[in-house]
């Protein structure tokens, strides 16, 4: 299952990179969503997965029942999900605001100065 998750994560990563390379701001944000989900999944996978017990300690016990899922990547990913949401909400509102101000979501049209490179690039 870990191999499958790795391939899934990698594919989401590829999709994220592709979307980030677009010149539409909305697509860039979708790219951010994809990449942050991909990274969370990969981080979780790297901590090794198990379908057995969650990392909980039953009443009357002092240690979890073996074998249990690795709690550390879960804690890390949990933090990452929340932080990722913070970033995403800010990015979304920023996109909204810049569209309201500038009237475009095309990253190339947002610049104030004339483009330093010629427009013919691809």
């Amino acid at each position: 299952m870990e191999s499958l998750l790795a391939i899934l994560g990698g594919t989401m990563f590829a999709g994220g990179i592709y979307m980030l390379l677009r010149r539409n701001l909305i697509k860039s944000i979708i790219g951010i969503i994809l990449i942050s989900n991909a990274v969370n999944l990969l981080l979780f996978t790297l901590g090794r997965t198990t379908k057995d017990n969650p990392p909980l300690i039953m009443l009357g016990e002092t240690i979890p029942a073996e074998p249990f899922a690795n709690p550390l990547p879960q804690a890390l990913v949990l933090t990452a999900i929340v932080i990722g949401f913070g970033l995403l909400s800010f990015a979304l509102v920023l996109a909204y605001r810049s569209y309201k101000e500038l009237g475009t979501v095309n990253l190339d049209e947002m610049r104030h100065d004339p483009a330093p490179l010629k427009e013919e690039d691809k």
């Binding site: 191999s3 499958l4 994560g9 390379l21 899922a69 690795n70 995403l88 800010f90 104030h112």
Partner: protein, 775 residues
């Protein structure tokens, strides 16, 4: 000694305020500072004369073995006396020379800071603190050379001097650190007895070349000689100090200082003697190409520095003696001559010898000092310069294998120096009076006291060399050699080969002087000047220009203002660097393992692939929101299947919020189909890069999964979660207890993001550019 160095620095910092209070009298008070340090150093003469050394140490950055430790032996004492002694006269001279200049306080400040650095440099015992002082001299000389900062030439010359010596200094730092590694200490006094350790070290060649890079750039050896004549853009008091007696000697000083540790090898001999001898002959004759007094003196200074470099390379007892005597002799006469040149410029309004003449009647005192100093430079008895030159000849003859070549070079170079001596004194002061831009009269006493005293010392030490030979010079030579050398100096050695050569030198030199008018501007000399004076400078300028162009070019490429190209660059670098390493490590195992996967797991992953495909390819905003939602919730399902209940809960909550937020925002944004998209070629290129990046990430994760896993930390948390933190949910305990500070940071981040979101929504439009299209 720390106090002595600090006192000069403090005086430098206070100088502008003193000038405000004392006006013209500042100069006397400030001159007292180097004078008192000079007297302080003099009190060590008896101890040094008795063959002892003095060492004082104050810890500075003890973690890196950087100590403010100072070491006085014959070498550092001689340099300390030269620096503070001439420094005293320079302050007086500068006070006179720049009297009407409103930037005079800045001159005082910079020159005193320079002086403090120079004193620190010559008496430093710690290589790293020596380097700090070394860089301080480069820095303060940058300010001093660029003193006339409104002139472009000054700024250029200052930058040139800083870049050349600064780059050399950087190389030297690497060399010094290597020396520290090899010997296990940074104290020079300890290194001096470790010569064999250095010479046998495999690092020796690297150390030598790096240290020489510093010394050669500082002391203007070929091919770095061009910066010194360029630095003549500085006011003359600066040139007289930095570019004759002090800063440019720092490189030579370092070679002398490290001679016992690094010297006596074939490489040392070859590099120092080779570069020294070549620069010697090259620069001496180059001096005759110029008619500006300061340029002539600058090239003879390069000549003197290369003489010293060559002597240190030769390394015989004669050479050590010669080096010790020549350092002092040169400082005395060259300091005096520079000050004379400045006085002439100051009083007559030009430094071009073709426009000067007959000043001896108008400036008799300056003329007298000039004559004596020039005689010393030409090496005429009974002046101290004569003793120095005789010893140089003896040293050149002291290595039988190359004696013939060295002596020919030395004699030919000195012929040019004799001619140059004639030029700098006969042209301005003798002959018939000519009309000068300013009507000349004697310089104020502040400006002649220096040259007169220094020239007087040249005469006194020449006539009475026993005054200094066993007291200092002997110990200087011994310190350079690293072993005891016993000798005394005398004016008269009987009729021997050096004396005969001296006579020949003087005769030829005077001969050259008489044909100089034609010779100076002849075709041959023009070509010679272009080759050695202009070409190196042009090369330097081309290099600097090229560097700037390269910087502009690569900035244009990398910082082009397009977000996607930045990301493209980052991704490509990751692909090349990480991917390259990955494939070079051929033993990486990244084969996937699909055993034991259940049907519904395939189903979930399959759904996610489809959702992903929709998310990246569909233009309908609603479809995208739905696809993202499916992806996020499926991810939560994967988490929960793998025993990560908290994760799944968080993912569901956050995903719900995300979907709502994305939907809310997308309603206000234009439909994706409205956007003009890039060409298919661009899409394919991006797709290839994105897929490669994804594949690389996948393979990295697969390879990592094949490696053994160490869950020590996880097990530790699991075992103490209940016993120490009294929590049954280990993930929660980690978050709020073991790693509570991280979580605290996370809360702060989310709070800041929330405030920013609120501000962005509520903020009134600062600029509404929809119509105007400008800020």
């Amino acid at each position: 000694m720390l106090i002595a160095v600090a006192a000069i620095f403090i005086a430098g910092l206070l100088a502008p305020y003193l000038h405000m209070a004392l006006k013209k009298n500042t100069v006397y008070l400030l001159a007292l500072v180097p004078l008192s340090v000079f007297i302080y150093f003099s009190t060590f003469i008896p101890e040094i004369a008795a063959g002892e050394t003095v060492r004082q140490s104050t810890p500075w950055v003890s973690l890196f073995d950087v100590n403010l430790s100072f070491y006085l032996d014959g070498l550092s004492l001689l340099f300390g006396l030269i620096v503070t002694g001439i420094g005293t006269f320079i302050i007086l001279y500068g006070g006179g020379y720049l009297e009407k200049d409103r930037q005079l306080p800045r001159f005082y400040s910079a020159i005193l800071i320079f002086m403090g650095s120079m004193v620190g440099l010559v008496i430093a015992d710690n290589l790293l603190s020596l380097f700090v002082f070394w860089e301080l001299t480069s820095f303060s000389s940058y300010i001093l050379i660029g003193y006339y900062h409104e002139k472009e030439e000054s700024r250029k010359s200052a930058l040139q001097a800083l870049l050349v010596t600064g780059l050399g200094g950087l190389a030297m730092l690497a060399g010094l650190i290597l020396m520290g590694f090899v010997s296990g200490t940074f104290e020079i006094s300890e290194m001096l007895s470790m010569g064999d350790i250095f010479r046998e070290s495999p690092m020796y060649t690297a150390i030598l070349i790096l240290v020489l890079a510093g010394a050669f750039t500082k002391s203007a050896q070929f091919p770095f000689h061009f910066w010194l004549p360029g630095a003549m853009a500085a006011p003359t008091p600066v040139s007289a100090y930095l570019h004759s007696a002090t800063m440019v000697k720092a490189g030579v000083f370092l070679l002398m200082r490290l001679n016992p540790a690094l010297g006596s090898t074939d490489l040392w001999f070859g590099l120092l003697t080779g570069f020294g001898a070549f620069t010697l002959i090259m620069s001496a004759w180059l001096a005759l190409r110029f008619t500006d007094l300061k340029q002539i003196l600058a090239y003879t200074t390069v000549m003197a520095l290369s003489t010293l470099t060559m002597l240190i390379g030769i390394g015989t007892e004669y050479a050590m003696k010669a080096a010790a005597v020549f350092v002092l002799g040169h400082s005395l006469y060259k300091g005096a001559l520079f000050m004379v040149a400045g006085a002439v410029d100051h009083e007559a309004g030009t430094r071009d010898v073709r426009k000067l003449g007959g000043l001896r009647k108008l400036m008799p005192i300056t003329a007298g000092a000039a004559v004596i100093a020039a005689l010393s430079m030409a090496g005429i008895p009974p002046l101290f310069g004569f003793i120095g030159k005789e010893l140089v000849y003896e040293a050149a003859l002291s290595i039988p294998d190359v004696a013939v070549i060295l002596i020919i070079i030395a004699v030919l170079a000195n012929v040019a120096v004799v001619a140059a001596s004639c030029i700098v004194v006969l042209r301005p002061f003798f002959g018939k009076e000519v009309e000068t831009p300013k009507h000349a009269h004697e310089a104020p006493w502040l400006m002649w006291i220096g040259p007169v005293s220094l020239a007087g010392l040249s005469l006194i030490f020449g006539l009475l060399p026993f005054l200094i030979d066993s007291a200092i010079i002997k110990h200087t030579a011994s310190a350079i050699a690293g072993y005891e050398i016993d000798f005394y100096l005398a004016l008269w050695h009987g009729i021997n080969l050096p004396l005969i050569l001296s006579v020949v030198t003087v005769l030829l030199g005077v001969g050259v002087y008489f044909i100089w008018d034609k010779f100076q501007d002849s075709k041959g000399m023009q070509g010679y000047g272009t080759l050695f004076a202009i070409f190196p400078k042009k090369t330097y300028e081309a290099l600097v220009d090229g560097l700037l162009k390269l910087a502009a070019w690569q900035t244009g490429i990398l910082q082009n203002g397009y977000l996607r190209y930045y990301l493209l660059t980052i991704t490509l670098v990751m692909l090349v660097a990480v991917g390259g390493t990955f494939f070079l490590k051929a033993d990486m195992n990244w084969f996937p393992d699909f055993s034991g996967i259940l049907f519904y797991e395939y189903a979930i992953v399959g759904v996610m692939f489809v959702a992903l495909l929709f998310a990246v390819s569909i233009r309908s905003r609603l479809t995208i929101v739905i696809s993202l939602g499916i992806l996020g919730f499926s991810l939560a399902l994967i988490y929960i299947l793998h025993g990560a209940a908290d994760l799944a809960m968080t993912q569901i909550l956050v995903e719900t919020l995300t979907v709502i937020l994305v939907a809310l925002v997308l309603i206000h944004l234009p439909n994706l189909s409205k956007e003009v998209e890039v060409s298919n070629a661009g899409k394919i290129r991006d797709a290839i890069i994105a897929v490669s990046a994804g594949a690389l990430v996948t393979m990295l994760v697969l390879a990592t999964l094949h490696l053994p896993f160490d869950d020590f930390i996880s097990r530790y948390y699991a075992s103490v979660s209940y016993t120490e933190a009294y929590g049954r949910n280990i993930v929660n305990v980690i978050l709020v207890d073991f790693r509570a500070l991280d979580t605290m940071g996370e809360v702060v981040v989310v709070a800041v993001a929330g405030m920013a979101v609120y501000a962005l929504i509520k903020m009134k439009g600062i600029f509404n550019t929809k119509e105007e299209g400008s800020r």
